[in-house]
């Protein structure tokens, strides 16, 4: 099961993802991104502190938005990635394509930088 909460901090749209994202639940992550896009958000931080598991379905959601984000100059930063989840990003080389910050503060700095 995945739980997704959204929050606005100044100009930054924060999506907090907790639980497990798999082939059955990745749709919720996709919806959160879609809503952010539709609301015209340009600075998106994704909090993965409480994300215990992500499969390719969830990683695919991130990848599928990269092109559109670049085109629309939308900034995306992930933070709080657990070591077990981080290694999955590394296996696919996603850390080279997506900015990953250590903490929420660092993510906000990167988005405002």
């Amino acid at each position: 099961m995945v739980n997704i909460e959204k929050e606005k901090k100044d100009n930054i749209h924060i999506i907090r993802v907790s639980g497990e994202v798999d082939a059955g639940s990745s749709i919720h992550l996709d919806n959160a991104f879609k809503e952010g896009m539709e609301a015209g958000e340009s600075h998106i931080a994704v909090d993965l502190t409480n994300l215990a598991y992500i499969s390719s379905a969830g990683l695919g959601v991130f990848v599928s938005y990269l092109d559109e984000f670049e085109l629309k100059k939308i900034k995306l930063v992930l933070f709080g990635v657990q070591e077990t989840v981080r290694q999955v990003f590394d296996i696919l080389g996603l850390e080279k394509l997506i900015t990953i910050a250590e903490s929420e503060e660092q993510a906000i700095e990167k988005l405002n930088g």
Binding site: M1, E20, D22, A23, G24, S26, D30, Y53, S55, S56, A57, L59, G60, V61, V63, S64, Y65, L66, D67, E68, E83, T84, Q87, V88, I91, L92, G93, L97
Partner: protein, 136 residues
């Protein structure tokens, strides 16, 4: 003797299969980081079998057997859906996935990068997929 589990072809069964594999790996003292990767590979193969080979039809079933030996772990999947040999599948490149904004295609790439050997065969109407992981 190995341990087995049978699930029906529905996406919400994935949680059950992950828990089963995680428990078995924990019982055999496989370190957390490696266990997480193996659970992921099993989840990816199961998701593929559920969605693509069996069209999410809960009448169909998938059986998974786990076999532990001192040097390797073997995960064997048996199902009666549309046969699919992972070795014959060419994963799309990351550039291609990004430019086409596709969400699928990463799963089997993960399986290939995590496992040491993947075998596919058919036997009496069953598709058999074996994933082998060498352990130190």
């Amino acid at each position: 003797m190995g341990k087995s589990i049978v699930i029906v072809c529905a996406k919400d069964e994935l949680t059950k299969i992950r828990q089963f594999v995680a428990d078995e790996l924990d019982r055999h003292k496989i370190p957390d980081l490696q266990a997480h990767k193996l659970v992921l590979a099993v989840d990816e193969v199961c998701a593929n079998l559920i969605i693509h080979a069996n069209n999410c039809d809960p009448v169909n079933k998938i059986e998974l057997d786990l076999e532990f030996s001192p040097k390797q772990i073997i995960f064997t999947f048996r199902d009666k859906g549309v046969g699919f040999d992972i070795n014959q599948y060419e994963s799309p490149s990351m550039d291609e996935l990004i430019s086409t904004r596709r969400q699928g295609g990463l799963g089997l790439l993960l399986v290939k990068r995590i496992m040491d050997k993947i075998e596919f065969s058919t036997e009496k109407n069953y598709n058999i997929c074996r994933l082998v992981k060498t352990i130190a």
